[in-house]
Symmetry: C3
Subunit: 353 residues, 3 copies
């Protein structure tokens, strides 16, 4: 994908200096860059590495002295990662769009839009509607009665179960499961979970009269908004009598669990291995750090940030930054943590006194 420095700068909305017609074929880290690469050196820390590499052109930090760094051309990007987004979008090779494989099984009652690709051994169920421009890779299972919007990318081995509606421009990474049955069971008499909650754990639990778990079926499916992306092997369960919902523009990382009946708002980030338990409501623009979890039947407000590893056990108001297990405001958590670190010495002092 050859581009001139001028073309790249224009696409990035950035300023370019030096040999504007120099052509680059790819992007690389400064030390590893070859003569035809555009090196990405967006902070001063990369200056020394730039000299080690062979790049003639680089994206550099705002006040870099690019000539001294040995460059023939430079692009200056005020917001480095935003430039990275535009640049990597320019340089990426589009996925193969090879039409509908003769090895795919598409049910005759399915509706397939224009310019759709369906990979080898993929299965499209009865009555399913696939929008225009969708790329479906190999080994994908899309059940009957599903709706997929336009220009989605559904990678290898994705499973979409019944009662699922997917918006436009949705990206599902390999192994994603949408619409598996919710984890919803009930005993005929109070279960150990109910007893533990009622007694706050102060009474030893004994075998309940009837420990059999009865299954609550999932009839509600899942709705995925436009511009959502879901990472490899993540799972979004079907709702009970209404859909589990992922809002427009929300991005979900790998190995994330979204339980049945959950509603996740718009423009959220759910980082790797995060989990949201059943029937919890997550607001808009919420960021859930890696490995963080939110218990069931809670409400997390808009513009909340949960640090990595945080475990939320109660409702969180709008705008809060939370950390810890159980989650508290970040400052409260830091205060407790610092105090805890001082505590052993304090106790040693008290035992001497």
């Amino acid at each position: 994908m050859a581009h001139t420095i001028a073309q790249i700068a224009e696409a990035l909305g950035a300023k370019a200096f030096g040999a504007l017609d120099l052509v680059v074929n790819g992007a690389a880290e400064p030390a590893a860059a070859g003569r035809d690469d555009l090196a990405l050196a967006m902070t001063p820390a990369y200056g020394a590495l730039l000299v080690k590499g062979r790049a003639r052109a680089a994206v550099v930090w705002p006040d870099a002295d690019w000539k001294t760094l040995g460059l023939e051309a430079a692009i200056i990007a005020p917001r480095a990662r935003l430039a990275m987004a535009r640049l990597t979008q320019m340089l990426d090779q589009p996925l193969d769009a090879a039409g509908i494989s003769p090895h795919a099984v598409v049910h005759p009652s399915a509706t397939i839009g224009a310019d759709v690709s369906i990979g080898h051994f993929s299965v499209i169920g009865a009555g399913t509607v696939i929008g225009r421009g969708v790329l479906i890779a190999d080994h994908v299972s899309i059940s009957s009665g599903v709706t997929v919007g336009e220009n989605c990318k559904i990678h290898a081995g994705v499973r979409v179960q019944r009662h699922v509606k997917i918006g436009d421009r949705v990206i599902l990474q390999p192994g994603v499961v949408i619409g598996g049955d919710g984890f919803s069971f009930v005993t005929a008499t109070p279960s150990n979970v109910e007893l533990a909650r009622d007694t706050l754990g102060n009474v030893p639990l004994t075998p309940p009269d009837d420990p059999v778990w009865h299954r609550i079926h999932s009839l509600g499916g899942v709705e995925i908004g436009d511009d959502v992306e879901i990472g490899a092997n993540s799972t979004v369960d079907a709702g009970t009598i209404r859909a589990t919902r992922i809002g427009r523009g929300t991005k979900i990382d790998n190995l994330v669990q979204v339980g049945h009946n959950v509603v996740v708002g718009e423009d959220c980030l759910l980082c790797a291995q995060a989990g949201v338990a059943g029937s919890t409501f997550i607001g808009d623009r919420v960021v859930i750090g890696g490995k963080a979890g939110v218990a069931d039947n809670l409400t997390v407000g808009d513009d909340v940030v949960l640090g990595g590893g945080t475990v939320v056990l109660s409702n969180v108001p709008h705008g809060r930054v939370m950390m810890g297990y159980p989650a508290t405001r970040m400052q409260t958590h830091l205060d407790s943590y610092k105090a805890l670190r001082r505590l052993p010495r304090l106790l040693r002092g008290l035992s001497k006194a």
Copy 2:
């Protein structure tokens, strides 16, 4: 799936009032219910929402004044979630049972029971036995020598490796992996893990003489009891020289890890992203909360409840409710936590004194 109010009440073992022959086609939340839906309003909080929706019939809480709520018929369910279980079972559409796909590969030496469905591109290995009434979806891999009991549901993309026995009425959600090799490795000389344990971390670790990990193979397979359900993308590893076992009636959520040689008892719940490390024994009726973990080679007694996010690092006696990292009795955890929250102020007081 049309049913009269009388039919539903009978199936639920509940009492019905009003227009018993009114017909409903589905279930819905109160505010979203249409004229032909049965609204589910099992606590008084739903009363106001019921008035907003269009439902003519609802399942309501024990002393609800259903006429004032504008209903023509009502069902009163003493244990709301149990009613939900029976109701959703009634209303669920059965999965497609389309027989054996011409695109499946079934080894000639496999034994396939009556009324079995095998989906497109599924593979059944040599000598494998599939019981009567089993539904196998698309893209399922069942290895050679496996036994699957009767009336199981095996969803898309499930992988069942060698040496696995599965009971009756087992449900495997999409992407489940049963019988992957255990994570079991050993170095020829003491490894960093052994050194850390022996020194309690008080001596800096240095490169061991021989850091190569030798692989312990998994010969023992997995046994899954009757009425077990396992959630999407969860993994149950094969045992070393005997089977890893999941007891009858146990339900496992999504993205759960069960390590090699683990024994999980009967009627347990393992919530999403929980993990049980190798060779640990879990009793009967144990509930492991979301993201909770149990370390290797431990014993957790019967009727134990582990709160969400709990990390168990030592044995747990019967009947305990545990929380925290490391896990302690719930009350001990709450006491420590409350004390920790008071500590910063205490330390400020001491530093002034």
Copy 3:
């Protein structure tokens, strides 16, 4: 797989006693062993169980009185688990190597080495190179332009995306995803994450001007070293402009997440449900316990051990043993924890005084 005691002892580099020509067909736990099994009783705790079983031969602990235990033959192994490794390797049945399935789709431009097996419905992309002796199971997707070294085992349902290089003797358990796109997004103006970091959470977050997440594409792929093993349903994301790397000899358990741009060194262990966030560097011989996590853009030195459930939020020097959330030296963590357990009583004392 019948072997004499003498053959097994020789393979184990161990000493044998008694009936050296006695033949065994498999290995078993002492109590469950039949007459033709080799019982594994590597610690004195297994002595009593040995008497319960029917084994005539056993691997026993160093100073065991094997005749009194009723055995006809015994093998004494100085390092029990190492013996287990060699023994289970001997007794394991090799996987089926049935050649290339007529139901596989191998692109004409792919290069397939000698003695390669490719299972039913597997897909090999354009230009991909598969080394000699590789076993690819059913339902595997290997994208275009991938390189796979010699003698690898790629189990059912593995997904290998573009730009991936895999070394020799690599084992990928079912459902592994290599080279999914990295989770890398940026907003045009400061996001809630940036605001939370800048304000330490002391200012309530409000809706940002432009909450849209722009996608940074992943062009860098993944490189997996020789002798790496990766567990079921684990995910390793592609790097941005250079490869994410897993070093030679490193073993990764099930449901582990390795983020984009991460470098994991050689001979590491990453236990189940561990996670390493984007652009973090992990040294050689590092052990990451189950459910432990390392935040993004950090460096963890060589010979570090992270206990189960540890959450690392800052750099870790060589040789450290770490525990807790956030991770501290093991001793510091234990001191804090013990002090915390004493704290409630201390506070009760102070309130009385």
